[in-house]
């Protein structure tokens, strides 16, 4: 297999991996599939208030999961890799 075709295969696999990561996150995260990538996420905090009740509140913190992609990032990345794969494959066939 020529270098171009090998490169095309790598790019295609990476594109599939990126979309696979998006699907995996959508299936395993409680909020499901995300169209937009959240740079911050809500975490629950528990505290005892003036009435002696344990109360839960939500606060926004920086998203610790760097692989938590929304389709707004996964799509263009996979698309670019896919286009590169096609380009390398066509180049490889012509060469």
């Amino acid at each position: 297999m020529g270098a171009q075709r090998a490169g095309a295969l790598v790019c295609a696999l990476l594109a599939a991996a990126v979309m696979g990561l998006w699907v995996y996150k959508g299936l395993t995260k409680p909020e499901g599939f995300k169209l937009g990538t959240n740079s911050q996420v809500f975490v629950e905090q528990t505290a005892v208030d003036a009435f002696g009740d344990e109360v839960k509140s939500r606060v926004l913190v920086d998203n610790p999961d760097r692989l938590d992609l929304g389709l707004d990032r996964a799509g263009p990345i996979a698309g670019a890799l896919g286009a590169l794969a096609v380009g390398l494959f066509v180049w490889g066939r012509r060469g």
Binding site: G32, G36, T37, N38, Q40, F42, A50, F51, R58, N63
Partner: protein, 197 residues
Amino acid sequence: MSRQSLLSAALSAALSATLLPAAALAAPGSFAFTGTADFVSDAPLEKINGQANGGGAVTLDLADLTTLSGTIVMPVRTMKTGNAQRDDHLYGSDWLEADKCPDVKLELKGAKVESVETKGDITVAKLVVNGSFGLHCQSKDLAIPVTLKAKAGQAKVSASFSVSLADFKVAGKAGVVGEKVGNSIAVTVNLSGAQGG
């Protein structure tokens, strides 16, 4: 002063000290509340969680909770969903138009008391509060179930209700509402406050 007079004066002072807080609590008072409104948009394509912050002054009379009144304001620009671009869209001309309609407002105009319980010095009341909910420069009357807890000049309230975007003429971009953004948004409000604010 005789011993009897002294004893009488001391007894009166002690009685006043125990009765006065209860009297103060029962009298109508203005409470300054602050807190959060958590909202959830659950649409077929995406579930969006968000939160807004704000507060306001509420007049409460624990002896007559039906007279509850006040205004709670949450600026639109405090609404955060964890995605800065989505937040900017939310404030923009297709959605809540924060420049024209900067605040989400709840005006409280009385309540129907469902139940009141007193445990020690804590009063717990379940109410249905009548209010006018303002969003996107539109307003609609709502009856909101609320749980109120109060003691010694402190109070907290929690409430859950739904807001239909169509009622407030929030159309969004074509095809988004119903698919990416829920037609109806679930809201949970938690506020705490102190008297005299």
